[in-house]
Amino acid sequence: MVPLDETDRRLLDGFQRDLPLAPQPYAAMAAALGLTEAEVIARLASLQEAGAVSRVGAVVRPNTAGRSTLAAMAVPEARLEEVGGLIAALPEVNHCYEREHRLNLWFVVTAGDAAGVAAALARVEATTGLPVLDLPLEAEYRIDLGFPLRWT
């Protein structure tokens, strides 16, 4: 677990959203946090380096600039390494998790359009010989505030 100090926590609590759309957004953050612009940039860089922050940027609504789906497969235990490795290596796959379930492999496929998503799923079925459950998004219920972090 990445250790964070009080300032890192204030930074994460205050700026999971509302990074200013101003020419110098980090300077605006610095003013709110009582730091200098250079300190904010250095902290963000080290939080990113340590993996505590995956990126500073925009969270885009799904299916806005492309198409994606959630896919699930029931992979025999003996083939999990092989199939999991194969799927994780696909450029269209951005998330791939093993989960505790009969459907034990879950992944998100993203492409420029619906045909690209369908082609990637068809390729997975053809390569592995296993059926893929296609669970596209039908509605997203908006989580506007981000998931609040609890520090204690």
Binding site: L19, G66, C96, R142, D144
Partner: protein, 157 residues
Amino acid sequence: MDEADRRIVAATQDGLPLLPRPYHAVAEATGLPPGEVMARMERLLAEGAIRRIGAVPNHYALGYRFNGMAVWDVEDARVDALGARIAALGLSSHCYRRPRHPPAWSYNLFTMVHGRTREEALGAVEEIAAVLGDAVRAREVLFSTRILKKTGLRLAG
């Protein structure tokens, strides 16, 4: 979204550069004036195409090691109203409706919960269950056991 909007999203999907003027860097990458980059992002934010702009935490690295996908079979007539209420609770990071595929899959509501312990994540599931009440016919929690890949949104092409 028009072509210029898509160029902006593509240029920012890996994150903004940690430079004093990050939107100017995006402007350079997209060939748009900086003022237009900021104005377009402001508009995409107002329209909801951009959800938020900020530091995106990696919950796993922050100690939230238990990631549960809680799935629910919720009455069709009530799922949208209940989904909106669940999203507002702040107990889940994602809340989606997806199609059922009986008999392999009978769940239509997906909520992602996170905890530093399994019990903490399951506590959030119980709070969600209390709100869903008798609209739920069945549910399961699928904890992740291994992350094989996790990257930000990538656009093909």
